[in-house]
Symmetry: D2
Subunit: 369 residues, 4 copies
């Protein structure tokens, strides 16, 4: 029976892998059990953010000291740029090991991952991307031994974007791209990926919506998708977090959906369900933040969309980071921007991983007896 | 017996005074009772932010339609730039009127204001500025009929800064300025002004600290000062908010001090004392935000101080705005940056104004029977 | 016979009108002769730049001391934000007076202006806007007594943009807008205005191009249009500069077209034709700058289009300002950004006004005997 | 007899070493002859610019495929961040080989390099740093076989800065640092390094100035120093370019000093001396750019120093890049910011490398017969 481990490691710079190296050295992390590494890096999180690629390169170099190349490349590296406000740069290393056989049929945190093929530039933002991602999510669920989509609590995806060069290449081949604007291509890629999650989890049927609605009809959304775009990859890296009785260990995960940037009640309820502060400790938080398209928050005008000095995405990350940090007592949380089709317009999904400190016999968090 | 009124008015742009005009027209605001106008404007809140001056000019133009010039200039205009995150640009119009004679000796919100003389450039950041501001705070307290410093809950000050031109002028006259860096001069001005508040409120003795400690020894601070610097004035505009039995009306004010950006407990306690959500409605919130000097938040490294793309002040405002908005349910709050000597290093004071909805006989909020 | 005067006045801040006030006081400028005031203000020159409106309001307040309201509002105020690099904030006051009767049939600088009606949001970026602007340019030419389009050397236009609010308003009325992106709307507005100039000057026929080509087919362009968008107006303010024998005085204007940001030869040739440094002094320079769409400059990759920290427009303005300042010996020049359909893709028009210092009998600069 | 080769290689991203790899593969570059690699990378060029370290890491990884570790680390990597305006990211690979024995005693381009020890944080900005750098420059001159300082035309130095962490470390050890402001530490480091160059070249005597004048008395400067600070190193990497009869080959170098950002005459004269366009081709340009401290350019106010949205260094780089690109016909030039003590206040040194295309017997460029 497998056991998931989640290691939250501070970084001193995008290429600082000393914490990871130390944990592998002491045996706290077994390199060959690493499924995925998520990270918040300190670039601008938008188009010209090279900290993500820099971080991945450093991580691969470190892991190459312990694993063969194929294994190194089999890990999903999901770097998300932008540590606005007090957000603290860090890594979340998701690992699985053989654990104790569980008793009592309790559920524990389950982790699965999958990598898709490269996405052709002309497919970015289309149903082809949605379908590719949906297949990838299903593969990741299988990898985690999760069969019921209701047991999936968070799907983190790193997806590609369109650089000026890739647009040129497609155009020369006579193909049409969804957009010629690199920053907008990030939105289309994130949106299509999120819809892929929704399709895989049964939240939406792929036949139920028109391709033209991608990034246009924001009433379509997944409650558990978190997607980030970057220039350093051309495929998708997919990580699924959920609960499964086939896994053991003290970790648990749950999720909530915020309908806007200050919709704290569902988050509070989730923390309550997990028992944070009573019978469980906080381990990690993952969330999406976005400015939304209305230009307002509960009717009050904000200025995020019209600010030519600071990208709206950066504003939203800083603000929502504050909302959530105030609730969990730390800013070393994984808040990423650009939440198209991830939660309602202006809101987003939030997942928290906790470590149960009290052993209670019988059905565990969120499960049926 | 005077009664304080606080009007929170949304603005569509820095020079939008239509809401104010409408309120004066309907009689909701009596122009001749306006003591001060605080505002969050949508510039960068740093050196080259002209939205503050633009707003003041528009406000004065509107008020000139109702008041003689002397009265227009007697009002304290405290514009604070920077509406990062979801912060909503707005005005807080502080007004006082003759109110009902109070029964039962209850306390109500009291508002006082004062304007100092112009500050000589060479005095910025020195004990001369501290003393000038302390005198101004005392004058504002007297204006509010508040005798006990403990009844003061928030002192908002707009202070000047050093432009390249003012520095040159002083240098040519053979005088020394505290700093030749305009952005740093804003910090020195805010800090000296905050210490002036601390001295006036008895939190610190002016003899107890060395001028060289201004902006250096951050263990010196006021729990109730909020100071903002701007290029559009050369004097100080001081507004005092407190509680007094000499005032009537349903409004009340209280304050809390956050020791860091996510220190939510004192804020929660203050909201509880005010009875927000039970027997009082939220009216307004005023707070200071700053990145702090440690480079960390509860031990976790943040990147605000080393970010050459976005000023640390802007990061801090966005983040703390999120923390507080999540607690009061709106982002139309007055969060300003640069909190030198305003609360502990990395923290800051927070004040909330509430409207009592339930009449309870006997001593009111925060007062002795 | 009319005479044109061009006054270049430094400003200390967006609302500094002291130089203008002084010039009016001394009689150097006759307020009732002011046709237009162009200005470089120190905001970001993009969407949330309030320095433009702030400047216009200050100018109008100053002129109201000398002119009736109708005359004040009849002046074209063309404020362009963005003083990147060493660009120096300043005003160019274009004035006309009754001058001496010219002898010898020489040509001199001629200035005309016109204001269009408000542009409906749904017309922005369409042939309706092109036609409206073409009519306005013709009216301005007539105002300048210029009949031959070849005698027009520069047309400066201030045009509107689409704010989130105006987009919402049009959408609620069931109308379609060209774009829902405010920053992109500035491009469409500038582009359509530039094509309006091209149509009026006979460079393009309005029947020769499809509305869908606006901001898409950059092979369509005017060699003498310079358009800037701002949030502070909903109509177009049009100023035409040219040469005419019906005007007298020592000023002359000429233009050049740069095909890319460093295409200095045409500018050098223009300075030579004007005789700058030999028989004429430099008075003013007006130019457009843009990053272009290729992502390269003479085959070398630049990073302006992919920079999420600094708008491409700001980059281009700073760079081209350097190119041109190095040629004329001052950075107090009027370089504005966003040159859609203004010169070739990546290039732009440049106009220089000079003051002839040597009297030479016979036909003057650029004219047929 | 040695021959210098200078290879200008475009990069597609900070970690793109494909051009270098190809050149080594074809033999155009001999890896073991590489003395130094200078590069313009596309970060912000200020504190949090990780593109520099990312580039160095990628270069080292590529070179490790061809050279032993000691040789890889013996190369001076001088990455300068910031490709504002149209500046094109590229590498300048400086190589030396055994060349033909020269005839006629002509001078050719000579290249030398040296690496200093790590600089202790408390020595940054002090005479200790000046002396350390001066020694390093002398070592680099010896490496280039240049004995007469007048034959040195450009000294490029990469120097360290003070991060919040290094400041803390020194403070805990009871040591004083020159500044606690990371951005200011870059200026002090650059300035002290430049003065080290001046001392080594005999432009200044180390006994002639007080340590307190570093970055304060800007009348002290070197005409040939170009220094850049970065977070990725703690020592100095020094590269000297000059002319020597002990070297052969078609390359030549010369320099000029601009007293302000648009002082083009000395640059024009240098291009003339080199014969660019007549008997020599342009190969590379290296220059420093800075806003200067006066806040003006030839008496006209600029806004670089008061811009809280864009660092003054970035403004200056973009602007001066335009001035120089307009003169040499390409923006693939090495313009770096922060020119404290490098040329006069507001100006900076410029060096151009040319390839002679015409063989002329007798003394060559700049030499005595």
């Amino acid at each position: 029976m497998r056991e998931a481990k989640v290691h939250r490691i501070a970084t001193a710079s995008p290429d600082d892998v000393s914490g990871l190296a130390r944990a592998i050295e002491t045996g706290e992390i077994m390199a060959d059990g690493i499924v995925a590494i998520l990270g918040k890096t300190e670039g601008n999180g938008c188009v010209n953010d090279f900290t993500r690629a820099f971080s991945v390169q450093a991580l691969k170099a470190e892991l190459s000291r312990h694993l063969p190349a194929e294994a190194v490349n089999g890990i999903a590296y999901v770097m998300s740029g932008g540590t606005e406000g007090a957000l603290s740069p860090h890594l979340l290393v998701l690992e699985r090991r053989e654990g104790q056989a569980s008793t009592g049929g309790t559920s524990s945190l389950a982790i699965g991952s999958a990598l898709t093929e490269n996405l052709r530039p002309e497919h970015l933002g289309t149903l082809s991307q949605v379908a590719m991602v949906a297949d990838g999510v299903r593969a990741a669920m299988a990898d985690a031994s999760i069969t019921d989509p209701a047991d999936v609590h968070f799907v983190q995806i790193k997806c590609p974007l369109l650089t000026a060069e890739r647009i040129s290449r497609a155009t020369r081949e006579g193909l049409t791209v969804t957009t010629r604007d690199t920053l907008k291509s990030m939105g289309f890629s994130r949106g299509a990926s999120a819809l892929g999650v929704a399709v895989a989890l049964g939240e939406l049927s792929i036949d139920a919506f028109d391709e033209g609605l991608i990034c246009r009809d924001l009433s379509l959304w997944s409650s558990r998708a978190s997607t980030s775009a970057g220039v350093e990859l051309e495929n998708h890296e997919i990580v699924v977090l959920g609960m499964s009785r086939d896994w053991s260990g003290p970790l648990a995960v749950d999720h909530a959906v915020m309908v806007d940037a200050i919709h704290v009640e569902p988050v509070r309820a989730m923390l309550e369900r997990l028992g944070i502060g009573r019978m469980a400790d906080f381990v990690a938080l993952l969330a999406k933040a976005e400015p939304g398209t209305s230009g307002t928050l509960r009717g009050d005008r904000h200025t995020m969309l019209d600010d030519s000095d600071i990208s709206a995405t950066r504003h939203a990350r800083a603000f929502v980071a504050g909302v959530l940090s105030g609730m969990v007592g730390t800013a070393q949380i994984f808040v990423s921007g650009g939440a198209e089709h991830q939660g309602p317009d202006g809101g987003g999904p939030v997942a928290v991983i906790a470590r149960r400190t009290v052993e209670i016999p019988g059905p565990r968090h969120g499960e049926k007896a």
